[in-house]
């Protein structure tokens, strides 16, 4: 009588274990990707909120700078200065009496067109760091742009 024997390259239990492990590896991989994705998303959201907060602060600072400059302008306005000088006991000089003021010649001095401009405050702009493109562009777009640059280079 002819005996039929089953021959396996791997024992069935081994194969089952292998399959389970494969599924676990895939699950772990998916979980890892998900975790990385969630982590980066959370970081990104945090960063975006931070940007919004900084922007708000920047707007406040800009408003405050403008306001303080104007308050300074108000305090040093002609009427205010005149009022304060009178309170301090100063009196206007008699312009008809030329002895009250005099001129001294300074050899070589010539008033240029730029005189007085140093007193004017320059525009104050708070620098803003722009988000670098690598944080905003997709891999696909990056490849597309770099490939097209290379092609143009050729």
């Amino acid at each position: 009588m002819k005996t039929i024997q089953s021959a396996y390259r791997l024992a069935p239990w081994r194969k089952q274990v292998q399959n389970i492990l494969n599924v676990i590896i895939v699950l772990v991989f998916i979980a890892s990707v998900t975790m990385i994705y969630l982590y980066s998303s959370a970081q990104m959201t945090k960063m975006k909120l931070e940007i919004q907060k900084l922007h708000e602060e920047r707007s406040n600072l800009t408003r405050m700078i403008a306001d303080y400059l104007t308050r300074e302008g108000q305090i040093t306005s002609f009427d205010e200065m005149e009022k304060r000088s009178q309170q301090a006991g100063y009196i206007p000089i008699d312009m008809n009496d030329e002895e009250t003021y005099t001129y001294l010649p300074i050899a070589g001095f010539r008033e240029d067109n730029y005189s007085g401009l140093d007193n004017v405050p320059r525009n104050l702009s708070i620098p803003v760091s722009i988000v670098k493109p690598e944080y905003t562009e997709s891999l696909q777009r990056w490849l597309k742009e770099h490939v097209s640059i290379k092609k143009r280079g050729e």
């Binding site: 922007h55 403008a66 306001d67 400059l69 312009m95 001129y103 067109n113 722009i130």
Partner: protein, 608 residues
């Protein structure tokens, strides 16, 4: 077994076809134009938010760096009606003393019935200060921390100021109020979309307002985004000095009020550079209350008459005719004109201002007595074509190009024009039938004070952009007369002024000048002497002119004569502002550069 195989194959084919169709459908949806458009529309609506971002408006400074126009923070305080309804009394009790507003107005606003489509929020004020906002916050915090009794909790627990909200705004502010408001113009901060009006604000609206962009912000947290850097609008430095401007404004106001004039204008310029040191007019408005401009200014009384209101300047114009005559070589200072009291042309008689006959006069005498007949004769000697060429060369037939909005000019009627007749030549020669603005006149006279070279008038000294600065350089725009003519005319007018209008003379500094009393033509009546424009133009020091000043009083009622109202006003103003222009008097110069300081009573200091 075969049957099972067949069924399995059928299942595989069926599933393949199914997934194939699904794949093709996905592909179709991904590439179809209307599907993409729909996706974008939905994306725009739900994934992005569009925000308009405006940069801060640039400042305006005087030549010393004092702020003339800046930006200030104020707060809009509003009530959220959904929460404020039925709490009007409570809200008004707290807000009225803080905002200095009427209790009933706040109460009424708070009780406006909430309607999701029509009435959601009610603004109370746009100009609350930071201090007021801090007080509101304090009250809010106090109310949120209070302990509510059980009885109160049933009836009043909901009463708080949560319905009160506020937003910061930046608005235009003019710290010096009406100082130089005719030059600055105004920005309507209550209605910014209307744009700036008049003066520097309107002329440089584009560069002052900086940038305005609409930015699409992604609501997706995975797409990081920043607010683009919005540099502030450019800042502008003017050539005017606020101290000088203030003195001149005070004087012109006093003169207008005392003489019951319609308006008054004074311009002081530097003839060597064309810089405007002061440009004062009256009436003016405080640009912080710009809405009053429509009540104050009319067609006959413009926002800035110095550049916007051409008028018949009268005898001041004789300066131009005299310069043209000398330059053309048709007259000399010692040329004699025999004044018979009339000058006839085409059957029309031209008379002097006093209808008198002054007999033989040198050209200096003609100017001393301001003889219309003499100037008519000079214009005839110059000739029609050449006379109008001179007027063109003096820039009187075009706007000067000063950096102020709405500059106007009145085209000169010339031979060949519809309304020109040969009578125009003599009448034009003494400033009748020809209209100029004060800025045109001062620009023309600058040529006499600057060796014949005419400088472009400018009131902007520098513009500070975010990344660079532009400084206005003096620009020669023509040489209508020779340097010799300029010197001769200046000397003649210095001599004639001593007789014509001694009230205009300055102590210790010799000046040249000319008065003008321009009659005003009234409809259906013609020229009437009772209503005039009283003007004066003066420059000095004669040896090396450093300033040119133009004075104009429109329709003074108390005294109509330029020699009696405008000339003394010139002297008063220039005496006051002289030290602030950093100009030594002739006597001071003589004391510095000569060994012997002339006595105060002596005339020798004129010739240091």
């Amino acid at each position: 077994m075969d049957r099972i195989d067949f069924r399995l194959k059928l299942l595989v084919i069926g599933l393949s076809v199914f997934f194939g169709v699904v794949f093709l459908r996905i592909l179709y949806l991904q590439t179809n134009a209307s599907a993409i458009a729909l996706k974008e529309t939905i994306g725009q609506a739900f994934e992005y938010r569009t925000l308009e971002i405006n940069s801060e408006r640039g400042n305006i400074y005087d030549r010393q760096g004092y702020l003339l126009a800046g930006n200030s923070v104020s707060y809009t305080v509003s009530l959220k009606l959904q929460a404020s309804n039925s709490h009007g009394e409570f809200i008004a009790n707290y807000l009225a003393p803080i905002l200095n507003m009427d209790h009933d107005v706040i109460k009424k606003s708070a009780e406006i019935k909430f309607d999701e489509k029509k009435a959601v929020e009610m603004p109370l004020t746009n100009f609350a200060t930071k201090e007021q906002i801090e007080k509101i916050d304090q009250v809010k915090s106090f109310l949120s921390q209070r302990e509510v009794s059980k009885i109160e909790s049933k009836s009043k627990a909901m009463e708080d100021l949560d319905s009160v909200v506020y937003y910061p705004n930046i608005h235009r502010y003019y710290p010096n109020k009406d100082l130089a408001s005719n030059v600055i113009g105004f920005f309507p901060f209550l209605n910014p979309s209307a744009g700036a009006s008049y003066g520097i604000e309107q002329e440089y609206d584009d560069i002052l307002s900086g940038h305005s962009i609409e930015h699409l912000f992604s609501l997706d947290p995975n797409i990081p985004d920043t607010i683009p850097d919005m540099p502030k609008g450019a800042s502008i430095v003017l050539t005017i000095d606020r101290k000088v401007q203030s003195i001149v404004e005070e004087s012109i106001k006093e003169a207008v009020v005392n003489n019951k004039a319609k308006s008054g204008t004074i311009i002081i310029s530097n003839p060597k550079t064309g810089e405007i040191m002061a440009m004062a007019t009256y009436p003016r408005i405080d640009p912080n209350e710009y809405w009053k401009s429509s009540e104050v200014f009319t067609k006959d009384n413009r926002f800035n008459p110095a550049v916007m209101q051409p008028y018949e300047v009268g005898s001041v114009f004789k300066v131009i005719t005299l310069a043209a005559g000398i330059d053309a070589g048709v007259i000399k200072p010692e040329t004699i004109f025999n004044d018979t009291g009339t000058y006839n042309i085409m059957g029309v008689s031209i008379y002097n201002w006093d209808r008198g006959a002054w007999g033989p006069q040198t050209m200096i005498g003609c100017m001393q007595h301001s003889l219309n007949t003499c100037l008519s004769w000079i214009s005839e000697q110059i000739g029609v074509e050449r006379f109008y060429k001179y007027l063109d060369a003096f820039g009187l037939n075009q706007p000067t190009g000063i950096e102020l909005a709405h500059e106007e000019y009145y085209p000169i009627s010339k031979p060949g024009d519809k309304y020109w007749t040969p009578i125009n030549l003599p009448t034009n020669s003494f400033g009748q039938g020809i209209m100029s603005t004060p800025i045109q006149m001062i620009t023309a006279v600058n040529a006499l004070a600057n060796g014949g070279k005419m400088m472009k008038p400018h009131i902007v000294k520098a513009i500070y952009f975010d990344d660079h600065t532009e400084i206005t350089q003096p620009e020669v725009i023509g040489q209508p007369i020779s340097a010799e003519t300029a010197k001769t005319v200046t000397e003649m007018l210095a001599t004639s002024l001593e007789v014509e209008a001694s009230d205009s003379l300055m102590e210790y500094t010799r000046i040249a000048g000319k008065t003008g009393t321009g009659e005003i033509a009234k409809e259906g009546v013609g020229y009437v002497l009772s209503v005039t424009n009283a003007s004066f133009v003066g420059w000095g020091p004669v040896d090396d002119p450093q300033f040119v000043t133009y004075v104009w009083l429109q329709e003074p009622l108390v005294n109509i004569w330029g020699s009696e109202v405008s000339a003394p006003l010139f002297s008063e103003v220039m005496t006051k502002v002289y030290p602030y222009l950093h100009l030594p008097t002739d006597r001071q110069l003589a004391c510095i550069y000569t060994e012997k300081c002339p006595s105060k009573d002596s005339d020798e200091y004129y010739y240091w």
